[in-house]
Amino acid sequence: MELAMAPETLARWQFGITTVYHFLFVPLTISLAALVAGLETAWVRTAKQKYLKATKFWGKLFLINIAMGVVTGIVQEFQFGMNWSAYSRFVGDVFGAPLAFEALIAFFFESTFIGLWIFGWDKLPKKIHCFCMWMVSIGTILSAYFILAANSWMQHPVGYKYNAANGRAELTDFWKVLTQDTTLVVVFHTLTAAFLTGAAFMVGIAAFHLMRKKHIKVMRTSLRLGLITLVISGILTAVSGDSLGKVMFKQQPMKMAAAEALWDKEEPAPFSVFAYGDVEKGHNTVAIEIPGLLSFLAHNDFRSPVPGINDVNKAEQQRFGPGDYRPNIPVAYWGFRWMIGFGMSSFAIGLAGLWLTRKKFWLAPGLRTGDDEPPHLALTKNKVLGARLSKWYWSLAFVTLGFPLIANSWGWIFTEMGRQPWAVYGVLRTSDAVSPGVSQGEVLTSMIVFTALYAILAVVEIKLLVKYIKAGPQELTDSDLNPPTKIGGDSTDADRPMAFSY
């Protein structure tokens, strides 16, 4: 059988396709839920209409997005058993528990309260309606936490023992799985990156409307919220990424050596800016490097040694027996760089935007703008960007709104492919994890079906998003402005149409 069509390869491709696709929607869902909840809270507290308009507008985009997140998430719950039955048997005792927690606690929360929120505009007093979105937000964050705890266990298995009698891993300390450093930093990094994603999305769309001088009140507020979130989450993503890197240098030195295409131990170790190498021979032919920086990333000083791919490979051969323990080096190397590059570009655009659109700080009084005009892009106290440059900034913010999505995808591709050849690091090889009873044809069928279906749905989803983004926030109706005062709705007019209906 050709390697390219081996069931393991196909199953990995399928997992990659379905999971990366699913994770396009997850970070937007996590961040937009909280941002929409924040906007609705502002409406409840201040009664300013712009907040309600913003809540409804971003809420609509959020719903288009979460629909896809939910349905592609069901696949995740099934496909461990479908394509990875040997894995499921081996790890179910450990890995299943956080998944069960996720379903029983987080998914029910999310799905029930989202229904209340969508249909509840004329059924719930506004405080309770707003509370529902906060519940959705909590659900999304809990869900992330449990599934990342499960993934972290695959990266760094703790709190288990191997039971030779039935040949599987068994849980001994669930608390450890939930609170090990891998879990905590991965959750921190994933959540901050999620907010970076939602913030860049919000900033991009706000920029699109402000450039056209449309929907100014709502979009000014959105821009401000987005920019602040983008800058804070950008900083925290970098900080958490640094912590995660340090944890990974300890726990999976191979992954980090591959991320740097560092073939042999160096002391101090340089950070690679660009490398082109020969994987077979195990060296780089071209390399541009910053001296000492890798030592800092791994150990917080500029001198300590960092082991290379060849060193770790030898060490793992001694530990686990003969074999090749190197992941796909170009994918790890470039995945790592695309992740940082795309993510931090968004952060830089946000930082620039926050400065350019500041309200008062170091800004001549004449350049301050009111609530109903688009902000000037002020470079210094008295100097604003010209029309062309301003347009250029707004356009840049708009066209890069998807950058964090690319960064997230590469981050996951890097972290999962960097762990290969292991499914559970040091414990279970990916080649031992696939379903032995599932045929090549079956995996191929499902891969084609999912890929085709997902491609069609992507087109549908993007078209819908474009339609609703272009339309912008809608005018408020009387019933929007007069939410019910009691649960179940005020019984003034029994035949009044529902505020929202499918």
Partner: protein
């Protein structure tokens, strides 16, 4: 009673919750063609489950997740063995969820019609397929000494399992019609009741056949009680429906679903996936379960979470308790 027995019951509870709730969801989906006369009526039906279908579906996710955690071997054998039917169910659930959310988002005729067709087929197919899946689980399939399914997909399409598929299809469609009569107002409510009377009678035929077959094959006194409850509940639901007591009719059609699932799990126990090749290769609650420690942890979780879920999901139904009719459906937006 050991913890893995408790978990067998809990997983039965999760599946029961799923079939009780998404049972009428699937039924409503089928009724968009069977009962609804025009687009406005389709929308009335879809909106009776609008706020709740997503939460209802999570009962399935929980059943799968809990099976993974409590019985890894059951999860692994079932999902890898029933690969293609589950793939089809997955595709249906994906399209169906998107269809509910996206159908109203554009006004073009073709767009709306396509999603409406999608809602019908993606409700009908899983309604059949779940019965086929459970028919095979209860009947037993070709499982080898390594706990792997070694049959083909055609083996899953045996007469017994297909009869099981007919049971879930008719039962869910009946349950859905009763739900429609409970949640709607106006002309469609009356027609839902009339349709329910026919569907209830129609449900009795495959149900009595399938459960009778199961009882003869594997039953005991307790499972016989469950069969009697199913039949009695269906008859009572028909009676209540005839008297116009829609709440009672729904309670009884729900009881029929609950008792049917209970009957299947009763005859399954202590197996979880019987092998037709060799009885000693069957997966049982003992041989397929997780370690006592894991079971203890997830028992705490389920013990705390499940009642809470029932509480807030129940509250949702209360918030949206009012009937809806065509007058409540606003124009497309």
């Amino acid at each position: 009673m050991q913890l893995h027995d408790v978990w067998f019951v809990l997983i039965a509870v999760l599946w029961t919750g799923y079939f009780f709730l998404e049972g009428f969801d699937f039924g409503i989906g089928v009724h968009t063609k069977l009962l609804a006369r025009d687009r406005q009526e389709k929308r009335v039906l879809i909106n009776t489950i609008g706020p709740v279908w997503d939460g209802n579906e999570v009962w399935l996710i929980s059943a799968a997740g809990a099976t993974f955690a409590a019985f890894p071997d059951w999860y692994a054998t079932l999902f890898s063995g029933f690969y293609l039917p589950l793939l089809l169910i997955l595709v249906c659930l994906i399209v169906r969820g998107v269809a509910f959310e996206y159908r109203h988002k554009r006004t073009e005729e073709r767009w709306q019609r396509n999603w409406e067709n999608a809602i019908f087929w993606t409700s009908l197919l899983p309604a059949v397929l779940w019965g086929v899946v459970f028919g095979n689980i209860v009947h037993g399939v070709k499982i080898d000494a390594h706990k792997e399914y070694v049959g083909s997909v055609l083996d899953l399409l045996n007469p017994y399992a297909i009869l099981g598929g007919l049971v879930t299809l008719t039962l869910f469609t009946f349950h859905g019609a009763v739900f429609a009569s409970l949640k709607t107002t106006g002309d469609i409510r009356e027609r839902a009741r009339r349709l329910a009377a026919v569907l209830g009678a129609l449900t009795l035929v495959p149900t009595v056949g399938f459960l009778g077959w199961t009882q003869a094959d594997k039953g005991d006194a307790i499972s016989l009680t469950a069969v009697i409850v199913v039949v009695a509940a269906l008859v009572a639901a028909l009676g209540a429906n005839r008297l116009g007591r829609e709440g009672w009719a729904f309670a009884f059609s729900g009881l029929a679903v609950v008792a049917t699932v209970a009957m299947l799990f009763l005859t399954l126990f202590p197996n979880v996936m019987p092998s037709t090749l060799n009885e000693s290769w069957s997966l049982t609650v003992g041989s397929a379960s997780s370690s006592p420690y894991t079971l203890k942890i997830i028992t705490w979780c389920a013990g705390f979470a499940t009642p809470l879920v029932m509480l807030y999901q129940g509250w949702t139904y209360w918030v949206f308790r009012k009937r809806i009719g065509t007058q409540h459906i606003a124009d497309a937006h």
